[in-house]
Symmetry: C2
Subunit: 659 residues, 2 copies
């Protein structure tokens, strides 16, 4: 039975939920296929995540391996392939709770970096899971800065081998997934030395465990790095190499080769390879970053129409907490952000697909812009979505804090996205470097890539809005974002120049501007996101109420950004204090408007109860019953009280006679 | 051996670390006593937290009970008492990782709410742990709004009993600590009914488990609420009551009593009791909120001088990450906030001690102000410190994400402080209600409590600062904070009045202003915090460099607040855009100044390695070695690979022949 407090929220949506779902999926056919995959996965008990919140790291790991093995069977059964259209839905339906994800990177890196012979040898074995691979790049003391890696691979021409070593503890490989307990092989990155000369970082295939009994190979020290904030299912590992000898053929040699006599040969262009690395940052957004935010919004908003707390109107029953302005102000901007980032993700995917076609024609001109895009948006979206999930968690009070709400694990997992595939601050500084360069070029009248031509355009100095309704005009707010981005970029460029001209060394000047450079890069990406949302709304079909509600969300996203970064817009008076009051008024008005459709807007994300795995967020809104049922299954209830016999019983022993 | 990268940071501190530690402790004698307690606790293996990050919820609970029982013995041995000066250090040294904390609330509530006979009967048993108590207030569907509680206690005059019931699932008691698996008794809050009339919420002593064999008593359903984001050691529980009969004498009756014939008698004033509830919010700040932030700063800052990443200056070795402006901008404001909140906590403690003396003389005049203080500062400090810990965690990159860094558990635990003892948004709105009332009174020329007299004073309309150095003047920035607080409070009061005058119902008008009211309450508390920090610095001894470095931190705290809430200060032009640039310049300059003393400033917090329990934060800075050693002790390494025999072996079985 559906809780009447949530049922009433669905009675008069202003738009067609089903049509919006299809729009999010990219079409009716995609929705159908997604649902079929989800149904196939969720109806299979082998993939159940039911006991997830009760399991130890060992149990989670075991389950993830079991699922990975079962998945192979399932895919075969269902006729699904890794390159098929279903694949993205499969991964999403598993919520990533499966092993051998780094094995896939192992396969991809050999495909991309290996010679034809290497591909022919390794890929079939790996594809059949007849060996388990990993990808060992990061070291205990070295992350983003690849040149700093310390692992060495010395070529020994007498035996035609490379000798791999971990010269000190900070050089130990650390973090690679699937390596702690599963992998038999890994692609390890090491500094190549030939005849005493260093040729920089290269990838080598290294066997680390016996195929016979899974024991560690000679010279190998490896294990699991222990408990993390999440990713209990993954055996992130460490690896130390002591005089490990591998044949010359094990250096991945598509782009460079060491010949038998030690001659180092470089060939071809690695540019397309860099492009692939860049796209990884974008490709992770959908499943690892957007889906968690959408789930968190679904859970928190459904809970907020079921949970009642205090009286809003004297004499009435306690109010749904979503009727409080403060609760709306916590949750609805996150909902708007989920849509905003969904659309920017679509935009980025398209951009990268287009670029890929260009690049295949050996036109690498767009690479710097693409790199700036992927870095900046990876940082912006992961940062916003992580905060968003945290806000959703906190907005559910005590029950949000229970693992059974599903929110803690969404949060602890999405948090990692701010760090992996490039730490966000470092990425934003890479975007900033691109922006500064483009700004300088634009100022000098030189041509710049399309996404930054706005840096050259002359801007009006004041926002023309006259009343609060003017701030519901996309032109008005998009212009405001553009203006702020230009101001932050240009003023930081000026500061940088001033410092250098006053004699400060360039690297030092850069460091002294980095706080502001980060702000500038964020402002740029935020602007593009708002602009893209507004343009997407323009193109939406007007029927079924979709365009109208998306327009409201776009307005909310934009005005929330102005409201909560007011200083950026007020700084040079582009928006006046009086105008900021109008922004605030329109922003708060919008909360009340969107609140009416809040439940249909999360229903449109179309998550099943199993995929949410939340006692608070189920479709039927039966929160309390479910919390109680789930709690009873906890090992703290199903197992004997471990403290009773030894500690509690002796304490309570004589009390009875005294009462 | 101490890592030279951290040793060099301690060579030339600008101040005496030992003197600052004594200042933080409140005197040399306190430092001595604290260290003696910490030493006694940490040298006792029974209190070890070494394996904490590897334990299941069941193991954590068992360890917490074991420690609680051992603690009684230890206290007796050491001559420590619950009211002795050592007690606060004991709890801190255990990092709260001990059972029976709610048992203490059980004891306190009987002492405060019980009659002399009740105290005489129950307190001795409870003090000796011959029964284990809990405190059952919150229900599945009811938190902050106590009138909404649904549990009933119906007086049956024929048997002289109360009959307790949980009428529906949302009325189930949920969250009480020590109740899930330990407690034999609880103080349960229920709606009292006599002859069909409801007299509101009252406290009742209810036995829930047998003293003989710990089985649940008749009519009792109870258990553990399952896994949470932290507090694995605590058995937060649920409780359902079905026609549970308790004697009339079990209603705690200091303030009201049901006589044998059902006559309800109320007596005395509960005001002092409300005062005690208010002080709880302040008393938790030191151990539950400030200590975790100080620990997080210690860990992150020590790690940031050991971790090297990328080159800052071409040709040199990789730079310490704390030398990057962006890293300084993440961590140093958190360090400044830790000091700011330490001093505001001192101020609040003193305020409440003074008030307590007044209240004992039956002068309750200060209660509204104290309530506003405790609500607002509980919210402000928990909010800031929680964000601060999260920033520290993220600033440590991948290693911060490992449980072994200690940061994840600091974060997941401090997060709860934003929710318990009053959800922060609700608390801020209570402060706001007080501020609005005072503002109205002040505007009408009526007297107001001392902390808000500033609301009546006329203010200059522009900040007088002429250059960036002016912003290092406490008068300048304190004035700016004061101005903003007044502006936010007065403008929200005006909006509220406008709405009511335009015919909006009062409760609706209030709801429509709550987003701004929250801002106003925060601004008020932020202003008081800055003002108090500046005044504290004034009073500090000038020798040993203490005053100078604290002045820098005070400036940083204040300017960071202006920099990151720029909109609030720019809104009405009190601070101009040009002045905001000066703020930014001074703020960034300060980062570089404080960076030099960053390690001594966290050393002054004087946490032992055991109390930090962090592979990243130890005094000697041996990060990588410790991460590696600790990881090896993880059950993922010490236990057999649970996936090998069943899943991995069959996969790898035939590979050998193919390679």
């Amino acid at each position: 039975s559906v809780n009447p407090d949530i049922a009433s929220e669905r009675q008069t949506p202003s738009f067609s939920v089903e049509k919006l779902t299809a729009r999010l999926d990219g079409g009716v056919e995609q929705t159908r296929m997604r649902r079929a995959v989800v149904e196939a996965i969720e109806s299979d008990p082998e993939f159940s995540r039911e006991s997830q919140y009760f399991q130890s790291q060992n149990e989670r790991y075991e389950a993830a391996v079991r699922k990975a093995v079962h998945l192979q069977k399932k895919m075969h059964e269902m006729g699904w392939t890794e390159n098929g259209p279903e694949y993205k839905y499969i991964y999403r339906a598993l919520s990533g709770d499966v092993a051998f994800l780094l094995h896939r990177i192992f396969v991809r890196s050999i495909s991309m970096l290996g010679s034809d012979e290497q591909i022919a040898k390794w890929i079939p074995l790996a594809s059949q899971y007849q060996l388990i691979g990993s990808y060992a790049q990061t070291e205990l003391g070295h992350g983003t800065y690849l040149q700093g890696l310390e692992t060495t691979a010395v070529f020994d021409s007498s035996t035609q081998e490379f000798i791999l070593n971990t010269p000190k503890i900070s050089a130990m490989k650390w973090w690679p997934g699937d390596m702690g307990r599963s992998a038999t092989h890994t692609v390890a990155f090491a500094q190549l030395y030939i005849h005493g000369k260093c040729y920089g970082i290269h990838p080598f295939i290294v066997q680390i465990r016996s195929l016979q009994d899974h024991s560690l190979c000679p010279g190998i020290t490896a294990g699991d790095i222990g408990p993390k904030m999440n990713f209990e299912h993954a055996d992130n590992g460490y690896l130390m190499l002591q005089n490990v000898r591998i044949p010359r053929e094990n250096m991945l040699s598509k782009f460079c080769e060491v010949q038998p006599d030690g001659t180092y040969v470089r060939r071809g262009s690695q540019k397309i390879n860099y492009f692939t690395m860049t796209t990884v940052r974008i490709s992770l957004l959908s499943d690892e970053v957007l889906a968690p935010l959408m789930k968190a919004c679904t859970i928190a908003i459904r809970y907020s129409v079921v949970r009642r707390q205090s009286k809003l109107k004297p004499g009435e029953q306690e109010a749904k907490i979503l009727d409080y302005q403060t609760q709306q102000e916590k949750l609805l901007p996150q909902l708007a952000a989920a849509y905003a980032f969904h659309f920017i993700n679509d935009y980025l995917q398209e951009l990268f697909n287009r670029a890929y076609r260009e690049i295949q024609r050996k036109n690498f001109d767009t690479l710097p812009e693409l790199h700036a895009f992927s870095s900046g948006f990876k940082a912006l979206v992961t940062q916003h979505c992580t905060s968003g999930v945290e806000i959703c968690l906190r907005a559910c009070g005590g029950h949000g804090y229970s693992l059974l709400s599903g929110l803690p694990s969404l949060y602890t997992k999405i948090l990692a996205s701010c760090i992996y595939e490039g730490e966000n601050t470092i990425l934003l500084l890479q975007t900033a470097r691109f922006l500064i360069k483009c700004f300088m070029a634009a100022s000098a009248g030189q041509p710049v890539p399309p996404s930054v031509t706005y840096l050259a355009a002359v801007k009006p100095s004041k926002c023309p809005a006259k009343n609060k309704l003017d701030f519901l005009s996309p032109d008005i707010y998009t212009e405001a974002y553009q203006h702020s981005a230009v101001r932050l970029i240009s003023s930081t460029a000026a500061k940088l120049q001033d410092l250098v001209q006053s004699g400060v060394k360039k690297y030092d000047a850069w460091n002294r501007c980095t706080v502001q450079l980060v702000q500038a890069a964020k402002a740029h990406c935020h602007y593009i996101t708002v602009k893209n949302f507004a343009e997407t709304v323009e193109r939406l079909e007007t029927k079924a109420g979709i365009q109208k509600i998306m327009k409201h969300l776009c307005d909310l996203f934009a005005l929330h950004g102005i409201f909560s970064n007011a200083g950026v817009f007020l700084h040079d008076g582009y928006i006046s204090g009086a105008q900021m009051d109008m922004v605030t008024a329109s922003y708060l008005d919008l909360l009340a408007v969107i609140r009416k459709d809040a439940v249909p807007l999360v229903d449109a994300f179309d998550f099943t109860d199993k995929s949410l795995n939340s006692a608070l967020g189920s479709y039927d809104g039966q929160v309390y019953q479910r919390l109680y049922e789930w709690a009873q299954k906890s090992p703290t209830n199903t197992q004997m009280n471990p403290a009773y016999e030894r500690y509690l019983k002796p304490l309570l022993h004589n009390t009875l006679s005294k009462l």
